[in-house]
């Protein structure tokens, strides 16, 4: 299988890349890890006329924390960098749980987190994780730099809020207000398959009370689902069994799964509920151990 013909450019600077996209308009696509785009092009689901390969752009392969704890992930940071990251293991439990579950190890060597967000596949894991963490995407275009909250970044299945001449250069996870906990669970039929169901939970706790919560769902709707009501049910008090049950029920209610070869809608909804309880149960246990 081959993609249809396209013009290929591999710019050496971000300015040059933006210029190429500006001239290429709607027919241009940015190529980072290529682990979603190249298969789509081979299947002719995508047939861009211009490919702007950003792999030669310097200084985009980082992930680092600012002094205040804000985490920044560059556009060329690969999934495997995040999977091996001591920084994530130490400070970002939801992300550290998700990183080893993306696709398979070989795909993780090339694929990028920012690319996954831009691809906006309803079954993409990172979008849920970044949404649950209240993150955002930084875009650069001819008019400068703007920050797009994740909640508004995905505009539909495989659609994002970027203008045709903008490049997503960075994903940003805000600093935690208190102690971070949470996790990501994914049900997949085999390694590398898309999620039957994925659930991201991100909590911030001050003292015994949950000060912020985010819950987001993968693969159970037309796009990534933010379960805001479920998350709100956790905020303002300690993580009691009642609150956990209530959040799990609300998350299951927020899911809009469809029956398909991966399972029935009812089954998927049940898994959403189970995963919320399971992640929060582990969090609760960890908190008790710490106390």
């Amino acid at each position: 299988m081959y993609p249809s013909r396209f013009r290929y450019e591999a710019p050496r600077s971000l300015e040059e890349a933006i210029g190429l996209l500006h001239d290429g308009g709607d027919y241009a696509k940015v190529l980072a890890g290529g682990q979603s785009l190249v298969p789509l092009m081979k299947l002719r689901f995508a047939s861009p006329e211009l490919i702007v390969d950003i792999n030669n752009l310097p200084g985009l392969d980082y992930h680092r924390a600012d002094p205040d704890g804000t985490l920044r992930i560059g556009a060329l940071c690969r999934h495997s960098d995040l999977e091996r990251s001591a920084l994530l293991r130490g400070t970002q439990p939801t992300m550290a749980a998700a990183a080893p579950l993306i696709a398979d190890p070989i795909v993780r060597n090339r694929g990028t987190l920012v690319g996954s967000l831009c691809h906006a596949d309803p079954q993409g894991d990172w979008a849920s994780v970044v949404l649950a963490l209240g993150g955002s995407v930084v875009a650069r275009g001819p008019c400068g730099r703007r920050t797009i909250p994740m909640a508004g970044f995905v505009t539909g299945p495989f659609q994002n809020a970027l203008a045709p001449d903008e490049i997503a250069v960075e994903a940003v996870i805000p600093a935690a207000n208190g102690v971070r906990s949470g996790g990501y669970l994914k049900l997949e039929r085999r390694v590398g398959d898309f999620a039957t169901v994925g659930v991201a939970v991100a909590l911030e706790t001050s003292g015994a009370n949950v000060s912020r919560a985010g819950i987001a769902l993968t693969g159970v709707g037309g796009s990534t689902i933010g379960a805001a009501e479920a998350a709100d049910a956790l905020v303002g008090g300690p993580l009691t069994a009642d609150r956990v049950e209530r959040a799990a029920d609300l998350a299951a209610a927020a899911a809009k799964p469809r029956t398909d070869h991966r399972g029935s809608a009812e089954y998927k909804r049940h898994i959403v509920r189970t995963f919320v309880v399971r992640i929060l149960g582990k969090t609760e246990g960890a908190a008790e151990k710490a106390a």
């Binding site: 081959y2 013909r5 591999a10 298969p39 490919i51 390969d53 696709a103 070989i106």
Partner: protein, 172 residues
């Protein structure tokens, strides 16, 4: 060397790009059509047919090669992206007189039946052993989880890789 997707297309009609790369230690220059995949450059352009194409959809890992030492599915990378990089394929494992311990291991432990997935398995295993000379069984299963085998049930593949790891460690 000019490599197009359709051999019957007239070369003058198709824009090509010149790339320089190293394959199994040999430096090469090629002119490729941008839509040519790395797997096709390797198989058709260079005649190195040890790299197999199974699913062509980034699932099976039969086409796994190393790019600058990192395992990559070569059906999911453009050949033009190899510009300036070092590629290793299964043909680069053995020396003129000796099999690589991974190849010996697959032979000794019966790590293959039909053999189709084997080159990809060995290259993924090579990347693992380069990074981690003393892997556990779990490490091996993790490293090979992006490579599908429909014959063996993986048991003997895992044994083969552990065999190779032990031999490489013994060789120092």
């Amino acid at each position: 060397m000019t490599i197009l997707v359709n051999d019957d297309a007239s070369a003058s009609d198709v824009p090509v790009r010149r790339i320089r790369f190293t394959i199994n230690g040999e430096r090469k220059i090629a002119e490729v059509e941008p839509r040519l995949l790395l797997s096709h450059l390797i198989r058709r352009g260079l005649g190195l047919t040890g790299t197999h194409m199974g699913c062509d959809t980034t699932n099976c890992g039969a086409c796994t090669v190393l790019v600058d030492g990192t395992a990559v599915k070569s059906c999911t990378m453009l050949a033009v992206q190899a510009d300036g990089h070092e590629i290793s394929t299964v043909e680069g494992l053995a020396t003129a007189s000796e099999l690589h311990p991974l190849q010996e291991g697959f032979k000794d432990e019966h790590g293959l039946q039909c053999g189709f997935c084997t080159p990809g398995m060995m290259m993924a295993a090579k990347a693992l052993l380069d990074a981690n000379p003393d892997p556990t069984e779990e490490d091996v299963r993790w490293a090979l989880s992006g490579n599908l085998c429909r014959c063996t049930g993986y048991q003997n593949i895992v044994k083969s890789v552990l065999w190779a790891a032990a031999k490489l460690r013994a060789q120092g």
